[in-house]
């Protein structure tokens, strides 16, 4: 048994191609390539400064997300991941997962994955239905996944798909088509998110308009209907062999997300980047959310850690 302390890493890539209509997390619109590159370099500095502190730890899983990691700065990300493997002790079978958006995967993204030995892709798919996708305000239609699948080709990367149930206009039939589609894409894991309308988002404004629409394509499922959709999706997963491994997550046996499982078990975690969370040695620290400050002070935890609180034992 290893004498090293098991740990997971969370790398925050908080970029989104355009401002999300339905998500209010610490997200940055991906407008300025120089700024994105500066952020990735800042991630390197933060990780570099921390690496020596955790030489007694073994990394079992890495989650790269918090936004859309793929296509933000593929070259920089590839360098960062390669360097992190040199700076930290990775388990031989460490699961490294990258969040991406359909249509935003390039050959360079795959090259970055190769450099960093990423072995799992988490696809922010949401739905296969073009009407539902438009209703929530996604900036690319679902069929761009065809392009992504073409790019992935024979890639050995395991695919996990994030879906949303209870979308405007969603029916059980359309939800089943979405599930069938992701299975056809080779999904190893399906993550179900019940729709949440977050106040003060563009999507919340749209929902107010939808409430007065008579179009079935704009019908927002009520609580009972949403619940029924959720259970229908769960039943489909069970029928197709996707077993629950943590809340909302359903995976084919052997393809569970180690990162999420270990986090649920309370493993120590080290977070880098904007708004990242670290839980080690009895404390929970949250990084700042200001991009400029983070880029300036990345190696200095006293300046980039916004809050620290003791973890309950």
């Amino acid at each position: 048994m290893s004498s090293l302390t098991p740990m997971v890493l969370d790398l925050r890539m908080p970029f989104y191609p355009i401002k999300s209509t339905y998500d209010k997390r610490t997200l940055v619109e991906m407008q300025d390539p120089a700024m994105v590159q500066a952020y990735v370099q800042a991630l390197r500095r933060e990780a570099e400064a921390a690496a020596a502190d955790y030489a007694d730890c073994e990394i079992l899983a890495v989650h790269i997300g918090g936004g859309i990691a793929g296509h933000a700065d593929d070259e920089g990300l590839g360098q960062l991941l390669r360097d992190m493997r040199r700076g930290f002790h990775f388990a031989d079978d460490a699961q490294v997962s990258l969040k991406l958006h359909p249509g935003m995967v390039s050959v360079e993204t795959l090259n970055a994955c190769q450099r960093g030995r990423v072995n799992r892709l988490s696809v922010d798919y949401v739905t296969s239905d073009p009407f539902e996708s438009e209703a929530i305000g996604r900036f690319l239609p679902p069929n761009v996944m065809e392009t992504t699948m073409m790019v992935l080709g024979n890639s050995p990367l395991a695919l996990s798909f994030d879906l949303i149930t209870g979308l405007p206009g969603q029916s059980e039939a359309s939800l089943m088509r979405t599930l069938d589609q992701v299975k056809a894409y080779g999904a190893k894991e399906i993550v179900l998110h019940p729709l949440q309308i977050i106040p003060e988002t563009a999507f919340a404004d749209r929902c107010r308009e939808y409430a007065s629409s008579t179009s079935p394509r704009r019908h927002l499922p009520n609580e009972k209907e949403s619940d029924a959709l959720w259970h229908a999706a769960q039943a489909w997963c069970a029928q197709e062999g996707y077993l629950p491994d943590s809340p909302g997550r359903f995976a084919l046996p052997g393809w569970e997300s180690n990162y999420h499982r270990l986090m649920a078990e309370g493993i120590a975690s080290l977070g880098f980047g904007l708004g990242a969370v670290t839980r080690t040695d009895g404390a929970e620290a949250v990084n700042i959310s200001d991009l400029s400050s983070y880029i300036r002070y990345a190696p200095d935890p006293t300046k980039i850690i916004a809050t620290v609180r003791p973890l309950a034992m």
Binding site: I18, A49, E75, V107, V144, E146, G153
Partner: protein, 706 residues
Amino acid sequence: MAKLSRRDFLKYAGKGAIGAAAASMLPLSGLAEGPGGPGGPGGPFGGPASLYTPGTYTATGTGRNGDVTVTMTFDENNITDIVIDISGETQEIVGDAADKLTKAMFDKQSADVDAVTGATLTSDGVKEAAAKCIAQAKGVPYEALTGNVADPTAITNPDGTTTYYSMRRSWLGEAPQIAETDIAGEYSADVIVIGANYSGAPCFRMACEKGNTCIVIDSQSEETFNSYGGELGHFNSTWQEKVLGVPKSTFDPTDFIDSWQLQSAGRAQPDLIRKFAQRNGEIVDWMFEVYDDVAQVTSVATIDQKDNKYNYKKGHFWTYPATANLGSGGMGSSGNFCKAQVQKGLEASPDSRAFYEMTAKVLIKDGDTVCGVICQDEKDGRYYRFMSKKAVVLATGDFSANSEMYSALCTEVQECNPYTRLTGSGRSGYGHRMGIWAGGVMEIGPRAAMGGATSALPMGFFGAAGGLWINKYGKRFCNECFGVPFVAGCQSARQPINSSIVQVWDNGHWREFAQNQALGHFNAADISDAKMDEYQQKLDEAYAAGPAGANGVFAADDLETLASYLGFEGKEAENFVEAVKTYDSYAEAGKDPDYAKAPDMMFRINEGPFYAEKITRNANLVLVTLAGLFVDGNGAVLNQDFEPIPGLFAVGNASGGRFPLQYTSPMNGISIGMATVLGALTGEYIGEEAPVVSSGDSATSALGTK
């Protein structure tokens, strides 16, 4: 007080002994000291990762009366000194603006500060100059940092002449400088091919088989080598005969050349197109030697060849059925196909070598001649020099993953999508940049991408079929079959941004419509009767779904109801019904007086149920960009005077001359077809005819080294 590490800081603060703010007063160890951080230059994180390049930088901005000057000094992560010279401004107006701006920028560590009240113009000039200093320290172009893009650009050349550019060039950057002391080793060959994919692999193989010593370099690992796409379009090969049953003599190369240049408005490189047309079948036969049995290589398109009834000429343009799946026939993947070409080359030329996980960084020049390339080993980060005697071939792929470059070069795609940050699925364009750093130029615009909003047709129900297209006003607007799908789609891209294109068909004629489209890229490859039965099932689902539609399709028994399902109201609904009926009358008459659509591409729409789909524009569906370096008919890269640069060639998506306007695609897979065939023919030219231009030893004065 003892210094705290990050981990200790967390322990200390987490125990609640002090708040995080107080903890921030404690000095820390383990911070980056020197350019390499705790590990130093040789540490695990591989070198400098600071925000700025330390030093002092000066720049000017435009103030009220003229230039103002700012000088800023930086360490790795901070602005440490600011000196503002606004002595040319009216002192009674600006007062102590310099002091105020200095303090504000120093405190904020940014040029983005409030202007001094009453001295706005001066403040703006100071901020502009400060931003330029910061850009210099960051090593990024000022335009990229601020979004202020200069257009047009005129650059004064060393000889005093001026070169005028119509596009932004901030994506170009500067060639990296690699110290001689960082070069860990050197290799030499007659030919260096950068990229072992569709264009590079056959180029390498052919040059080897012509008796040259060659080196091929690729950044991918050999074990996980991957290509995407994998469909090779061509005509008149043995494969076409054996697998499709279409004789080699079926297609006249002259027809291909004619169709191609018509759709390219004469802008394709004539000799490249000629070479492809005349020799593609022969070269495909040669490439397919890697298969144990060519007959086992499957076809993309399924065409019913019974009685040879399929008409390959659609409208005024020829289309072709021969598209092979490179990953089939026991090959396993298209990546394996490329590796097999490389292996063939190595067998023919035992002194030749393949280097994987090696990334090209900068070309080497001796005077005007390109004589090599410096590459970095992905495994250990060390640099190696590869010297060539005859040629360096850029087979480095496209630039669609480089949004800035894509936007600047593919102007039609960007202008059709003014609110879209263009992204694609391909490469970063680094090869193009290497070629331009070495003196090459991009092919003359407009420059193409594969798909994107110039077609406004991502895959619809029947692929990129050219049926009846109707805009948001309920009106038909163009010849839907002018040229192959991506050429025909240009008018769709010129419709209102926030709207969909509606395609309409009927129950009585949709099979005929679907099974007689041009065999172009993104059209349905499978037009078998069995596939039509699958479509029928989906159409039935759409009909059953009523106003909700299904599978992206709406269906109704009459046009008025269909119009309502699509969201047309009032006058637009009337227009829609009229447009369908008018189109149907033209199809019946066999003549399109409005837009001259070829009669054989028009199908009636008069038997319900009627079906329609909404297709939205999608610039970011692009697989790759198709614009490359300006080349001649031998693939030699041209300089600003349009003369060949000795020793430098480009193939595949690094090469121009193939798709000058749009993705001319008379069959699926023509891009890979051109890449492989022209890659091989360039290798043949280099192998047989290109002169030796260098000794193959290290140059004494070389681009990119110091």
